[in-house]
Symmetry: C2
């Protein structure tokens, strides 16, 4: 446990949180940890299904790291019990039961990914099947006796389904209880999760009280917006950056985000303090975005690769940048590329045009074209060779 003043620790830990229940309790525990030298036990739960993490997932991992920065113990809990059961209703074909081998393989994949952010030495990877699979009918009864049906039906998705009379299987009620029981077994001081997990994390508090443990502090992180700045980052929406993607892909994707999203990404995807982030406002947006992309990519690929990817981006994109004052041209089609280059006047002769095409010095619509392409009427194309640009409208020959 580090010797930093508790208020400074709280600033570090609160950064980017959606909710903290409750700050006073966290302060109390941090003080105690400092006084006794016993680190806090900080849990976050993860799905046992094949992990392919994107930046959205790192918001939570980063918050775990912040606790590690301060010397605390982080428990990376793989909720494999439910995975081993699958979807017992059989309704969801996407959730067949996993084998022990699959769960273990997924765990290895997780580790390979999450230790890019987490400190391997200060992380316990655990599986909740360790205690849940030993539970007998009577243990389940005892666990269930600690909670009422109404309490569980208060959960947002349950209450909506209950009101809309969409069936809720009884076993679905057991999952939040099992998750809360994990906190009891692990004697957690803190549980972290997304805002969508808030209810389940609070169940942990209640169950710990029932088992006469001090209730865990609950800290939720927001869901990260995707590259579009609107929807939640998600693989299915293609607005994501995968953490195993090549460095250049990462940088290129990050450079497409809207400017308004930058403060959010600084806050949730880097360790920069809120004071530093406030200072970024004075940078040119392009510069700021490059620094952001480089900072994020460096975490996964190291500073050198990240630097190079940014250089590459600048080279390619600044070259491809269509000048604001581009000249327009009209030309009759169908027409071949060499005639078009000559006809719009950006090359002095057809033979020079043919040479430049062969040399790979000609781009059409941002793509290099090295063959004798032909163009049909009714389309518009952007031509470039060297620093010469034209926007060409291919028109129909007069009948």
């Amino acid at each position: 446990v580090v010797a930093l003043p508790v208020e400074e620790q709280i600033v570090h830990l609160k950064k980017g949180l959606a909710e903290l229940i409750r700050e006073e309790d966290l302060r109390e525990r941090l003080k105690k940890a400092q006084a006794t030298g016993v680190p806090l036990r900080v849990k976050a739960g993860f799905d046992p299904t094949a992990p392919d993490l994107h930046l959205g997932h790192t918001v939570l991992l980063r918050k775990m790291k912040h606790f590690q920065d301060l010397g605390h113990r982080v428990i990376f809990l793989i909720g494999d019990m439910t995975g081993l059961i699958g979807d017992p209703t059989g309704r969801n074909a996407m959730r067949p039961p996993l084998t022990r081998e699959q769960v273990d393989a997924n765990a290895e994949t997780y580790k390979a990914q999450v230790f890019k952010i987490l400190n391997r030495e200060k992380t316990e990877v655990m599986f909740n099947s360790r205690w849940l699979r030993r539970m007998k009918f009577e243990d389940v009864i005892r666990l269930c006796s600690k909670y009422t049906v109404s309490q569980l039906l208060e959960r947002d998705d349950f209450s909506k389904r209950f009101e809309q009379e969409t069936p809720i299987s009884v076993h679905e009620l057991l999952y939040p209880l099992a998750q809360g029981y994990d906190s009891v077994k692990l004697k957690c001081d803190v549980e972290l999760g997304g805002t969508d997990q808030k209810f389940n994390l609070l169940v942990g508090r209640d169950l710990q009280r029932a088992w006469r443990q001090p209730p865990q502090i609950v800290a939720t992180v927001p869901l990260l917006e995707g590259l579009d700045g609107v929807e939640k980052m998600s693989k299915s929406k293609a607005n994501y950056v995968g953490i195993t993607e090549p460095c250049t892909v990462m940088v290129n994707k990050l450079m497409t985000i809207p400017d308004a999203l930058m403060p959010r990404y600084w806050e949730l995807l880097t360790d920069k303090s809120m004071v530093e982030i406030a200072g970024m406002k004075h940078m040119h947006p392009r510069e700021e975005k490059l620094l952001l992309a480089r900072t994020i990519a460096a975490e996964f690929h190291g500073p050198t690769l990240a630097w190079r990817a940014c250089e590459e981006w600048m080279r390619v994109v600044s070259q491809r940048q269509v000048p604001a004052d581009i000249q327009d041209a009209w030309i009759e089609g169908p027409i071949t590329l060499d005639k078009m280059l000559f006809g719009t006047g950006i090359v002095e002769s057809r033979s020079l045009a043919q040479r430049k095409i062969k040399e790979g010095a000609v781009e059409v619509d941002g793509e290099r074209v090295t063959y004798m392409r032909a163009f049909e009427p009714g389309h518009t194309h952007t031509l470039r060779t060297g620093k010469q640009w034209r926007r060409v409208v291919v028109t129909k020959k007069d009948a």
Copy 2:
């Protein structure tokens, strides 16, 4: 399995039932049992707490017996699993967990009592802890996945509590499922229970369907009215006849029931057919009630003791019977018993009155009085010596 026509069997089995779900299915199964020679498996569940059965409980036992009469297999299922758990909320001090030894001892007490009605050879006594205690967390999940929260909350007591916002602990939802699962494990053809059990018995049907078994037939018996003919028979209301009570107590208690209750008791507490019961209407009520009391008592104490108890009742009660043409008398009080006997004229002298009192030949209000009791004004008493009767109103002396 007996060779009786199926329609006759149905008449026997339907007698006194509150509900049968469904008669067609029962007919079907009885036919199949007759064709294959494989008896039906008929379950009824019992509480594992210390059993002290009264006639109310025998309604169900008798229905079990009716199935045995027809050659079927009866399962006397002791629901010990919940007993071994107790009330896990700890709110109900009346339900501490039972030990294995207590459950076994209670089972022995049960057997001693129920085999007065059931055929020991055709009864399997079982404990549901045998399979329930082996269930693991994942088995419970699978069981719970077969039912929805709304389905369970349809149960009368649950829906009332839910609407009134009286807490329902989650574990309470598990009990009907566990009970239904018993039917799956036992492959029951029929489950019997009180009308208050109907919901739980139907859960068994649903779960059997989920396990691809033909759903059990559900037959409920009504709750028996107590001796008062109004309230449900219950130890706490003192309107009960315990099945281990002495024969004379049984008969004396039964002789106090209102006449209107007799057809009901015939139906639910004896094997008399509905045709026979209809014939009883022609008997003198006193005679009918004696026959009823004797029939019921004979089941528990044999015909000889039952006969004697009825004889004794007649002797005592017919003696105590106040004649319809009793003479009234008025006498000033306070007054001693000897003076009163002489004053009302049923004894010739005070000294004779004193002798009769000493001999125990005097009754006041149906009780023998052998001491010199005094009587205060404002009360009315019935005096008897031999065949002499008086109703005496003790008046105040004129002021």
